[in-house]
């Protein structure tokens, strides 16, 4: 069965429309159900004693005073946990050369970053556990700290993990063509050094897990705020020595993830181990300081990069040298090499050029581990690429839009393979740019900018084209040996009252997955979305799946839901045809009723069909298939990833005396293929832009030379807030992927991918003529004034 998406007047046309979110009312009424809302009989709380040193040997742990605190039940050391929980090594076979030492749930004899768990205190209340934790005496012997990224591989820098031989975790170089020769002969070569700051995701709900071990059943149940319940099931089973089938992971409401909650955290695994040891439910909820010190960090990169262009602005080559420091361990099981790898894959992404060299160097240091966070690697690659393109345009005296139009892949050239060996099925760079230029009235804005400049007001316009990697196949993790499903499934069933229940392997993080699924199922079967209940996040209930990450929920989970819904529709019509003595193909389901496909005349309500099937099955012909439940799985197979594309623009004003940047307006035109719910897509784009603006202007985790984190609070780590956010105009071009009936690609990360580059280019546009240029994010007032040479030390 197919759906005529081109016809907006088709029956049950819910795909492509903004429909109400089924869980919105519950959430705004405070009836959400998060891990911390749960209290189980005999439940206890665990608090972790964390290393105050970036690098220290643990010579001894004295817990007597802690155990004397009223309410404290047990204190666990790393060695205690290691008896029931094996360590993990976060490498993947396809990331050749990636190395990382075994990591324990609680450090056994050495702590490698400030915040690493070194002991756990279990008590009847969180407060008592904290009282106890304050009294655990750990005898630390401080060791030399490796902090700086660029000197991590120097001969005189201490090696963090002696067994590894050096501080190099991973290196990859990709070379296409002959970059040196092209650079040597090019009309212009522009080079620059870029830095992106260490970030973290700052989820509203902190990391949360509640684990119960039921010895009588031999089952471990974890209520967990996670993006990947089945992955966590597999990890807990493997490291606690259980069968996967004896681990159940339940994921209720989640208060934001952004990639933070798709990783395996030592303290969460330790919580599960403690539950198994104590045979009672154990809850761990990270507090905000723990979030800053132990949630994964990301984006700590320094890049030296060059672009070569000819006289006409044609891009000839990019040469990228990316460095990133990932903390003390590669993070399990997705590894910490992916971000650098993405930079290599994505630089130059929108452009049709031939010679490309990109290298990433990934090093260890004594800081919080980094890993995948929303738009993994994209904001870095886009900033480097788009920054260089603007600098080249300025050298040539070209307009930023013109140089991009000169170089972007033509909209009719697909399929095409990029110099980075990325395969693009179908993109729309030129149509997107045309839409953007019209939306923002580019020429009018340039006039306004010039008028303001004449009055001494420095405004800038910044453009950033980008590609985004979505709908990953097993090429992302599975081929490397990780038990992370790229396939996802959905079961749709019809109950006697004609209502539907959809069980999906993708998860709801607050972004509207369940709304998206409900409208797909509603259209696929032919009922109102209000007749569809969606269940996600339970490994014993839903089909096996990967969960929600890498912008795969709609493209993968949505297609599985559509196929399951269409299959159920066929099953229903088969029964209906028998009951109505009609041909199934002459019937259709519209608004919950079986109708004549041609005339639309109502023949049979679904609740009547349900009544007959479930209660008077005796009246149906023997042997008639009557399974009103269908399951389908979907996996992409033609392309490793479904690339999307888009272009963003920023308009801003720089106060050249204070360095303050005022964001005036932001635009994004994005092509995520088929749009299922326009409002949800637009809000994904907006939310993503806000996170990107945070990286451009505000967010930066600071450490001192001793590896102490200096700004672990919401007062000191600045996230973007409503007061500073500009109006955002979102536009769309739709190039559906042909891999699926639905045609949807991902939309969750596009905003974050392009926003920092757009802001950087806008600031530098504003400062052009003043001899100033900024390339180190975030663009703080001080960095801008220093670029302008206005600060006397």
């Amino acid at each position: 069965m197919t759906i005529s998406f081109g016809n907006p007047d088709r029956p049950n046309s819910y795909i492509g429309k903004t429909v109400p979110r089924p869980n919105a009312g519950r959430l705004v009424e405070g009836r959400g159900h998060y891990v911390d809302d749960m209290t189980l009989p005999r439940m206890v709380h665990v608090v972790f004693v964390r290393s105050p040193f970036a690098h220290a040997r643990i010579k001894g742990i004295e817990a007597a005073d802690a155990l004397a605190v009223k309410g404290v039940l047990r204190v666990f050391t790393g060695a205690d946990i290691a008896k029931v929980c094996t360590p993990w090594v976060a490498v993947l076979a396809h990331l050749k050369g990636l190395k990382s030492p075994p990591e324990h749930a609680i450090a056994v004899d050495r702590a490698c970053w400030v915040g690493e768990p070194v002991a756990a205190v279990v008590a009847t209340s969180r407060a008592a556990a904290e009282d106890g934790a304050a009294l655990v005496e750990v005898d630390f012997y401080p060791l030399p700290v490796t902090g700086d990224m660029m000197t991590a591989l120097d001969a005189d820098t201490p090696v963090l993990h002696a067994d590894m031989g050096d501080n190099l975790a991973f290196r990859r170089e990709h070379h296409e063509g002959d970059v040196d020769a092209v650079m040597a002969g090019a009309h212009k070569v522009v080079s620059a050094r870029f830095k992106t700051a260490r970030h973290t995701g700052v989820t509203l709900e902190p990391r949360s897990i509640l684990v119960d071990w039921n010895g009588a059943e031999g089952q471990l149940t974890a209520w967990h705020a996670t993006q990947a319940p089945h992955m966590i099931q597999s990890v807990l089973a493997q490291h606690l020595g259980l069968e996967e089938g004896r681990v159940r992971v339940i994921c209720g409401d989640v208060g934001g993830s952004y990639g933070i909650k798709v990783h395996v955290y030592p303290d969460e695994v330790a919580t599960a181990a403690i539950a198994k040891i104590m045979g009672r439910p154990v809850k761990f909820i990270a507090d905000r300081l723990e979030s800053f010190t132990t949630d994964i960090h990301a984006r700590d990169h320094e890049i030296r990069a060059k672009i070569a262009v000819d006289e006409t602005g044609k891009i000839l080559a990019f040469d990228i040298d990316d460095w990133t420091a990932i903390g003390a361990y590669s993070v399990y099981p997705r590894t910490s090499a992916i971000e650098g790898n993405q930079v290599v894959n994505l630089c130059g992404g929108p452009y049709d050029f031939s010679d490309y060299r990109a290298k990433t160097t990934v090093v260890f240091q004594n800081k919080t581990p980094t890993c995948q966070y929303r738009a993994v690697g994209h904001p870095i690659a886009v900033a480097v690429t788009e920054g260089l393109v603007d600098m080249a345009a300025a050298e040539l005296g070209m307009d930023p839009v013109a140089i991009r139009r000169r170089n972007m892949y033509a909209d009719d050239c697909y399929p095409v393979t990029s110099p980075a060996k990325m395969r693009f099925e179908g993109l729309s760079h030129h149509a997107s740019m045309d839409t953007l230029v019209a939306l923002m009235d580019y020429d009018g804005l340039r006039l306004e900018q010039a008028e303001m400049r004449a009055k001494g007001i420095y405004r800038g316009i910044g453009i950033a084209s980008f590609i985004e990697l979505t709908n990953p196949s097993p090429f992302m993790y599975g081929i490397g040996g990780a038990r992370i499903s790229a396939q996802d499934g959905c079961t749709v069933r019809m109950d006697p009252d004609g209502s539907l229940v959809a069980l999906s392997g993708v998860t709801e993080q607050g972004q509207g997955t369940e709304a998206m699924l409900s409208q797909i199922v509603a259209e696929g079967v032919g009922v109102s979305p209000s007749r569809v209940r969606v269940i996600t996040g339970d490994t014993q209930v839903t089909p096996y799946g990967g969960g929600t990450w890498a912008s795969r929920g709609a493209g993968i989970g949505g297609e599985a839901a559509l196929q399951a819904a269409l299959a159920l529709k066929a099953s229903i019509l088969e029964v209906a045809a028998s009951m109505l003595q009609a041909q199934a193909k002459a019937l259709d389901i519209r608004d919950g009723k079986v109708v004549d496909a041609d005339s639309g005349a109502e023949r049979l309500a679904l609740e009547e069909l349900g009544r007959i099937v479930y209660f008077r099955g005796d009246t149906l012909p023997k042997g008639l298939p009557r399974e009103l439940v269908q399951t389908r799985h979907f996996i992409t197979s033609e392309y490793p990833f479904a690339f999307t594309n888009g272009v963003q623009a920023s308009y801003l004003e720089v106060d050249t005396d204070t360095g303050i940047v005022k964001l005036l307006k932001h635009w994004c035109v994005e092509d995520c293929g088929r749009i299922i719910n326009p409002q949800l897509v637009d809000e994904q784009i907006r939310g993503g832009i806000v996170q990107g603006l945070g990286g451009a202007l505000y967010e930066e985790i600071h450490y001192d030379a001793e590896g102490q984190l200096l700004n672990g609070s919401m007062a000191d780590y600045l996230v973007p807030m409503a007061g500073e956010m500009p109006d955002m105009v979102i536009g769309h071009v739709e190039t559906p992927t042909m891999e699926s009936t639905l045609g949807a690609k991902g939309a969750g990360e596009a905003g974050t991918a392009g926003a920092p580059a757009a802001v950087m280019n806008a600031i530098n546009d504003a400062l052009r003529g003043l001899g100033a240029q900024v390339t180190e994010m975030p663009f703080t007032p001080e960095r801008i004034l220093r670029a302008l040479g206005k600060i006397e030390d």
Binding site: D287, T658, Y698, D716, P720, M721, G723, E724, P781, L785
Partner: protein, 277 residues
């Protein structure tokens, strides 16, 4: 983290509050709006405090004119100050300050007395009372006493309030008809602590200029004030930058803060129509 308080008692009136503090063996902490203290307790930066909650003592709240002076009860909340007609007329600097203090939820609970007793050098109200030449009224077991704002701020989070004393009110001269009061600051985001800020007051007796976010206490910029009295803005900017000793932290260096203070002073001067030479 969960707070670890030593105890809590709600005071019926001022003398009850003083008794509770006296009985607290040096662990007494006055709880007013709680917008700084509770946050500190929730991070266990302060533990074992015997909280003396004065928030229900109604006669410590409100704004009144008493003769030639404006009197503000210590429990008057930021939001109330922001919409008070007497404040708008007689101490507009405080109303301007409210617009820069944190966010609505905090302004609805935080009190001016709490902010002054907390003495955060980056906060607005301490610098305001310094520029306004206010007097802080303290009540203690030995009776009441008054401290000039210039003598009140001792160090970071440290004031002239003695053990067992409570700040009950702030008073200041009514603004003169031609008086200029202006607050300007630079913050990364609206509601953040300022990287640097200036409180400027020009009255018949001369200019008073205080700086927030630029040292261990709010600073009265006497050298700059003298230059401003001579209408020498260039000299004032140089003097101001010279007398500041601001911190360097993750948001900005001392050099940036010094630079910004000068920029803000020039902007104030231009706005009030001063010569820009």
């Amino acid at each position: 983290m969960k707070a670890s308080a030593g105890g809590y008692a709600r005071a019926r009136d001022l003398s009850h509050a003083l008794d509770l503090l006296a009985d607290a063996d040096g662990m007494g902490r006055v709880l007013a709006g709680g917008q700084s203290l509770i946050a500190a307790m929730n991070m266990r930066l302060s533990t074992g405090d015997m909280l003396v909650d004065i928030s229900r003592i109604s006669d410590l709240s409100g704004v009144s004119v008493q003769g030639r002076r404006l009197r503000i009860g210590a429990l008057t909340r930021h939001a109330e100050l922001g919409r008070d007609a007497l404040i708008a007329r007689h101490a507009p600097l405080l109303a301007q300050a409210v617009n820069h203090i944190a966010h609505a939820a905090i302004r609805n609970r935080g009190t001016i007395g709490g902010a002054l007793a907390h003495a955060d050098p980056a906060a607005e109200f301490p610098a305001c009372v310094l520029a306004l030449d206010a007097v802080l009224h303290l009540e203690g077991p030995e009776g009441s006493r008054e401290v000039r704002a210039e003598d009140f701020f001792v160090d970071v989070f440290e004031t002239a309030i003695a053990e067992g004393e409570i700040l009950t009110a702030i008073s200041m001269p009514l603004a003169e008809p031609d008086e200029v009061q202006m607050l300007k600051e630079v913050a990364r985001r609206s509601g953040d602590y300022a990287l640097a800020g200036l409180c400027f007051v020009r009255r018949a007796g001369g200019v008073r200029l205080s700086v927030l976010g630029a040292g261990s206490t709010p600073l009265l910029a006497r050298a700059a004030m003298a230059r401003l009295d001579m209408e020498d803005i260039g000299g004032a900017v140089a003097a101001l930058r010279g007398e500041l000793n601001p911190p360097s932290d993750t948001q900005a260096t001392a050099a940036y803060r010094r630079h910004i203070a000068g920029v803000l002073l020039r902007r104030i001067w231009e706005e009030i129509g001063g010569e820009s030479a």
